[in-house]
């Protein structure tokens, strides 16, 4: 007589010793490699994006008649892309032949260094971007007249007693340097926020995996 599926199931597991649990080892090996590879891909794409933007911005600024903004911005993005490229080379030196924990820890250290460097650079980068943009707008010509000069004339007309420093009204210089100061002060934070925006999810995953692994090692 044909056996029922219930009997096959019961007898099958009584007869054989196939229910041997596999050993739990190298638990995070694949995950570690996946997460680092994913980060590398994103980081590379980001670098290519920045480098591409560095070249596009020059013709773009020429068309929009903001070449004084385009050139410094392009130089900045080339420098950022170059630093990031140099920095990414260090990633290749992380030893893959070690344990997952050591591999991820080394990667985590690299990430932290990268975030720290980015924060330091951001302190200068955001004020620099602001100055570049201010230059770009300053030299825009409207009906044959430079926008910056129009602005100075406007302020002097409105506030004839305003104090001038090298021909620039103090009422213009104060907000200008204030903005630079604020950007320099918060540059690091903006830089961190920027990195979090792009790599936040992957970095949180890295953090979780590492904290799991640390607990596993206890």
């Amino acid at each position: 007589m044909e056996k029922s599926i219930e009997t096959i199931w019961k007898e099958g597991f009584i007869k054989n010793d196939a229910l041997v649990a596999p050993k739990l080892n190298d638990l995070y090996n694949q995950k570690s490699i996946d997460i680092v590879e994913k980060f590398k891909r994103m980081y590379k794409l980001n670098r290519i994006g920045v480098a591409a933007f560095a070249f596009i911005i020059i013709p773009l600024s020429y068309v929009t008649k903001m070449i004084y903004m385009g050139i410094p911005m392009s130089l900045l993005f080339i420098a950022v892309s170059f630093i990031a490229h140099k920095y990414s080379k260090q990633l290749d030196h992380i030893d893959k032949n070690t344990s997952s924990y050591k591999y991820l820890s080394s990667f985590d250290t690299w990430v932290k260094d990268m975030v720290s460097l980015n924060s330091k650079l951001s302190t200068f980068m955001y004020p620099y971007i602001f100055i570049a943009m201010a230059l770009g707008f300053w030299f825009i010509e409207i009906e044959g007249e430079i926008l910056g000069n129009m602005l100075i004339n406007g302020i002097i007309t409105e506030f004839p007693t305003t104090y001038l420093v090298n021909g620039f009204p103090i009422l213009l210089l104060i907000p200008f340097f204030l903005a630079i100061g604020v950007l320099a002060f918060f540059g690091g934070k903006i830089g961190k926020w920027d990195i979090n925006l792009v790599y936040g999810r992957i970095l949180t995953r890295l953090e979780n995996i590492l904290s799991d692994m640390e607990e596993l090692r206890k």
């Binding site: 599926i5 219930e6 099958g12 007869k15 054989n16 196939a18 229910l19 649990a21 596999p22 739990l24």
Partner: protein, 160 residues
């Protein structure tokens, strides 16, 4: 995961995890990945266990969820059909049990849809309709009808 936790809380129920993982994988490598992931999830979620059900029932539920999630991820990667549809290809299991009938039964189970695999495994493990319904997240009446239908389908596959 401390080896204590694994030895006392997981290993006694390893048979459950193994039986479920085998129904959702077709290679030893995948099986080991699924098994490890289930163990890891049990350890990670241990604090969420509220003792509203038996520990074994909770392990069934978690194992099924992990397997379904893994399978879904795999399918998404392959841009395959959504879950609870019949698999496009019949999985060929390279691993064999000593009992040939059991091999055939597992082969047949793997031809079922993902949810049906879970339902029949729980049924074969002698879980009550109520427990199966709780684990799967449906009502008891539905389970009875579904099991009858799955058994008929399994018989058909096995007779072929």
């Amino acid at each position: 995961m401390s080896s204590d936790f694994y030895t006392t809380q997981i290993l006694p129920y390893a048979a459950i995890i193994i039986k479920i993982c085998r129904a959702y994988t077709d290679t030893q490598e995948d099986f080991e990945d699924y098994y490890q992931e289930v163990c890891l999830q049990i350890w990670r979620s241990k604090d969420n266990f509220k003792e509203q059900s038996a520990w074994s029932t909770w392990i069934y539920r978690l194992s099924l969820n992990v397997c379904l999630t893994f399978l879904k991820k795999k399918k998404n990667n392959k841009q395959n059909a959504p879950s609870d549809l019949l698999p496009d290809e019949v999985l060929v299991d390279s691993r064999a049990f000593a009992d040939e009938s059991l091999n055939q039964l597992y082969g047949a189970i793997r031809q079922l849809s993902e949810i049906d695999r879970g339902v029949i495994l729980l049924y074969l493990e002698e879980k009550s309709y109520q427990e199966i319904a709780d684990i799967i997240g449906t009502n008891t009446n539905n389970i009875g009808v579904r099991i009858t239908r799955i058994k008929e389908r399994l018989k058909k596959i096995l007779s072929n």
